[in-house]
């Protein structure tokens, strides 16, 4: 049996695959070279998970890799109908980003409650102005997206004493179905988007939705940018329909210097960093190497994405 071919859609820095030396022929490509190389690959590692190249290069003639792994939690940039309909297994980087993102969200919730942005602004002005802050324990959150990230966010906010409702596509055990979202959002202090980008979630946070929320409530997006109608969020903040928001993801990334989002009152903008703790790239590489070893031994792969849903479905909060 010839050496299997592992094709890497590269990003800088490249993955450390030294542990696979001698067991697999590693080929590197950029987006432009992907289509020509796909028919000759057994496995595709999508190391540049910010690229749309796979979705664009996948349709076409010739053989296709039996397994595609992406170094991200979301698979929205990857999936095209031809890949969904194929026998190819798609896996993601579940396990690397969940806890960092949960901590990031908890940090934002506490920063809003304690008005840390206001404190830093007053400090720059050398002004001592005592304010009353908000308790976090006993407040109510809705976490939208019942995948691994949403479940980790839910568990950590619960540890802070927040009453959390976790909303997925369909109701199951400790998870609410999408039909519960509106009434839950209407009484929440925090609405947190940690959902995958799918046709059903694209644009779901719009003027109608922000209009449901309480004027004292805050919205946080650590999922994918296109789930939010950004203009509607800006309007909602300017009209004070809601008290604040934090976006870590955007319809277009990176955000250009002329984007109107940089200086909306009450809006915290961060550069898609919520999941990226020191060493994250190494952990992504190690995770792939471990999965490759299972695959080459013929063992079942973990983290298999349901391609029709666009994520790994879960059935319970603590799963």
């Amino acid at each position: 049996m010839p050496e299997p071919v592992l094709l890497v859609l590269d990003a800088d820095p490249p993955p450390r695959l030294g542990r696979l030396a001698g067991r697999v022929a590693v080929r590197h490509t950029d987006a432009a070279g992907l289509a020509a190389r796909l028919p000759h690959a057994d496995v595709l590692l999508v190391w540049d998970f910010t690229s749309d190249a796979v979705r664009e290069a996948w349709p076409g003639d010739g053989s296709r890799p039996a397994w595609v792994h992406t170094a991200s939690a979301g698979v929205d940039r990857l999936l095209c109908p031809e890949l969904v309909d194929s026998d190819t297994v798609v896996t993601n980087a579940r396990g690397v980003f969940e806890q960092p993102i949960a901590e990031y969200v908890a940090g934002l919730v506490l920063a809003f409650a304690k008005d840390l942005p206001g404190t830093l602004e007053l400090q720059r002005a050398r002004r001592w102005r005592h304010r009353e802050s908000l308790p976090v324990t006993g407040t109510r959150a809705v976490v939208v997206g019942a995948g691994p990230v949403g479940r980790a966010v839910t568990r950590l906010l619960m540890a802070l004493g927040v009453e959390v409702a976790l909303v997925g596509r369909t109701a199951r055990r400790t998870i609410h179905g999408a039909e519960d979202l509106d009434p839950l959002a209407a009484r929440a202090d925090w609405v947190i988007c940690a959902a995958p980008l799918t046709p059903a979630t694209r644009g779901m946070f719009d003027a109608r939705f922000f209009g449901l929320m309480q004027p004292s409530a805050r919205f946080i997006n650590v999922g994918r940018g296109p789930m939010v109608v950004e203009g509607d969020l800006v309007d909602a903040l300017r009209k004070r329909w809601i008290a604040g928001a934090a976006l870590d993801v955007f319809a277009t990334e990176p955000l250009g210097p002329r984007s109107p989002l940089w200086d909306v009152p009450g809006l915290i903008v961060s550069p898609h960093m919520s999941g990226d703790t020191v060493g994250w790239r190494d952990r992504l590489g190690e995770r792939f190497v471990a999965m490759y070893e299972l695959w080459s031994a013929g063992d079942p792969l973990p983290n298999v994405v349901d391609k029709r849903l666009g994520y790994i479905p879960g059935t319970d909060l603590n799963e």
Copy 2:
């Protein structure tokens, strides 16, 4: 038996004591009038807990109140040797500030780990600059001060996955003694001061102490300002002995506009607000009224301060 006299050292807004109407003669005073009124009071409510008036007015002739209650956690501004040696019972506002302060500390820890101040600064400059952040789970904290505030901080950080060592004056069960502080601080990512101000703690965080800490570590003070030698902390930050600090309390409050503390790199300055969540003054008043009812019924008072120690000693983390 004549109506007991409740003397209130006032602050604005005054306490709501309507529930005590008809059962106690309420007299109000400012700092200047306190000495003359003390001999005629059965109970003293120190509503202006930022004042040194009690410590100054207490020594002298005549009768003294049998019970002094302060609307604060710390009693450092209150105690003088004559009050310590007297039979007067001193109680504090345990139960009002602990959870808010714990949340405030958790918010600072997460803000440092996720570089929220850096994010807000880049946002003002309209610059997209991805950075790697730090995980909080698995980091190590030392909480100095094993009173109710220190214990609440410890429990909440533990809920975030932080490995916390709680240090009190003397070792007991889940609490380390003061002799363990240096070695614990030398390996900590976070050193948090939540201790009472006593002769033993005044000035304890000085150049020697900051020199022990790791260059990557951060220091947070939510106790009392005079425990920190502020000039030494500024030096430690400027020389990068430590990576950051947050002060909510200061040797002199409020901090004037010309204080050098406002613009030290890596230092977050906030206006003694960590414990003050919306409605805190009402809760302080309600707490006192409930305690007054116990006192007038002859029942034992909760929250009795050990006047020689200067705080309410605890024996266990979960007490």
